[in-house]
Amino acid sequence: MKQNDIMNRLQQMTDENIADIERAKSEGRSVIGFYCLYSPTEMAVAADAIPLTLCGTRNDPIAAAEEILPRNLCPLIKSSFGFAVTDTCPFFRFSDIIIADTTCDGKKKMFELLSRYKATHVLQLPQNQDPETALPLWRAELARYKTIIEEKTGVAITQDGLRGAIHLMNRERAARKALMDVNQLNPAPLPGSRLLEILFKVGFLADKEKGISLMEEIAAIAGNGGLGATTIDRKSGKRILLTGVPVGVGSDKVVKIVEQAGGAVVAFENCSGYKQAFTVDTEKDPMDALAEQYLSTPCSVMSPNTGRFDLLKEMIRDFSADGVIDLTWQACHTYNVEAFSIDEFIRDTFGLPTLHLETDYAESDTEQLRVRIEAYLEML
């Protein structure tokens, strides 16, 4: 199967997705919208509801968002809010309730405003991952979240329901991980922009089984060399690991510039990529297991955020990265500040320089970014 065939099938699934959701809704199933990786989607699955990722990676609705939100705010927050207020995200429209988290300051204040447009429940996320102090708070927060989902959907969430949900979501995460791990091969079979598009589009699918089978299939073919090596080798062929803020279709300009400059983005250490490659423990009590696993997500909103350093160390080695680009969305203070420590850590551990970029979704700085990225590839 060629990459084009795969992309055609994915496009077909994307086209069918809206009909799939409409059908499910007409059968009485609820739809729960999610913004952040900290919210366990298992809770929705256990209540026989459909978990949907919400839009927030395009520049288009930002102008509308800026009529209400300050301009000097991260584009991810503005885009998410803009999609909601302009009613241009079908998944937002379908959602019966939105689940959000108190991650960064910009988001939690934005959610206050968002609740004027749609029922929104905000999980009180602790600011660190301490098992003695933070975990019990988070565990209690998940219990409250469970009640809210039960009330909204009218479905009682059972232990067995949760176990089944964890099993399904573990399978999906395993398929995502297997797909991303294909690029541990050298040369990497999947160009970063292609991998990103697959992960992004599969993330919106209501029918989890469709996404799982497609990702498993691509991983198997690519792993056997069926996709052929990436054609990117024009100038440097350097293997780049992208870390930092999430990227999706519409906010992938850095990935594209790296590829145009002849580099290969082989992996994504962010919440749209490898931060999702975890497994929830199936031996423990499901609520305890969910609390533990989700709280350990290594996002810069945590202080300290040691997990990100461990994950980067593992990924730089496993993906044989030649360089690391650390991407920060403008006004994302937590990733911006953490960039200093990340650079220091990667220099000290691997002797590699990193490139820290701060930008937004607009294209206006493309040429400035290109100089930095090309110069970085020249350095490696």
Binding site: P353, Q368, R370, E374, A375, E378, M379
Partner: protein
């Protein structure tokens, strides 16, 4: 290119404000050094500049490099690497380079062998660049060539806090309205640019001499203030605007 001279190499630096072309012989000696305003059609200007120039191989750098690559099928290199290489041609031991051009500024640290170790650049706006100084000079009624000299003659430091070109212009207007001395305002503006440049340098390298390149290095007040602020030696090549083009020419020669 009208002829073929086996031993000659050229570098062209297509910047936001000016284009420089440097031709070198096989020893790296400068044979020809030209300059033109970029204008609105950089390729036409580049073509005009190259009329009558002969070389074996050339390399392009600067913002117009990719456009040039398409039109002339010449390899490209970023300004970062080109300035690093060019600075070394003048000062073989250089390990820190500050380049302030028309619309961007960059600080570059080099390894002992001359390779780029790390770099910092200004973000998307023209704050702290040649363009900023040019607009401020005009606001104060100075020719850009005289701006630095006048600022050097100021009796005291005056603080201009805005770095954004638009805001700084309003700040300057209000300082003029308050009756502040024109030269002191000029000096304040220079200080604000240097404060930013010094921050960039400190992020990439903590000690040793600094090679100052780009058009802004021709401004004597900038050179003085940089020395003062960092207590480090500041070295300005003979022709700081041509350093990028020279670096590109040398890289063309070394790649051949």
């Amino acid at each position: 290119m009208t002829g073929y001279y086996a031993g000659y190499y050229a570098g062209i630096d297509i910047g936001s404000r000016t284009i420089e072309l440097v031709v070198i012989d096989e020893e790296g000696g400068i044979v020809q050094s030209l300059q033109a305003d970029t204008g609105f059609d950089p390729i036409r200007e580049a073509r005009r500049l190259m009329n009558g120039v002969s070389c074996h191989q050339m390399m392009a750098t600067g913002y117009g490099r990719n456009l040039f690559e398409l039109s002339f099928d010449a390899p490209t290199v970023t300004e970062i690497k080109a300035h690093a290489r060019g600075a070394r041609a003048f000062f073989p031991d250089a390990h820190t380079v500050l380049d302030i051009g028309g619309q961007d500024s960059k600080a570059i640290a080099l390894f002992a062998d001359g390779r780029v170790k790390r770099f910092e650049m200004n973000d998307r706006c023209a704050a702290g660049t040649g363009k900023f100084l040019e607009i401020m000079a005009r606001t104060l009624g100075y020719e850009i060539e005289a701006f630095g000299g006048e600022a050097l003659n100021a009796k005291r430091d005056l603080t201009v806090s805005s770095m954004c070109t638009v805001f700084a212009e309003s700040e300057v207007t209000s300082l003029i309205a308050k009756g502040e001395d024109r030269r002191e305002i000029a000096r304040g503006l220079h200080i604000s640019v240097i404060r930013r440049a010094a921050g960039m340098i400190n992020r990439v390298s903590g000690e040793g001499g600094i090679v100052f390149t780009g058009g802004v290095a021709k401004n004597p007040c900038m050179v003085e203030l940089l020395k003062e602020r960092l207590s480090r030696e500041v070295l300005v090549p003979e022709d700081p605007q041509h350093v990028g083009a020279l670096g590109a020419a040398l890289l063309a020669m070394e790649a051949a």
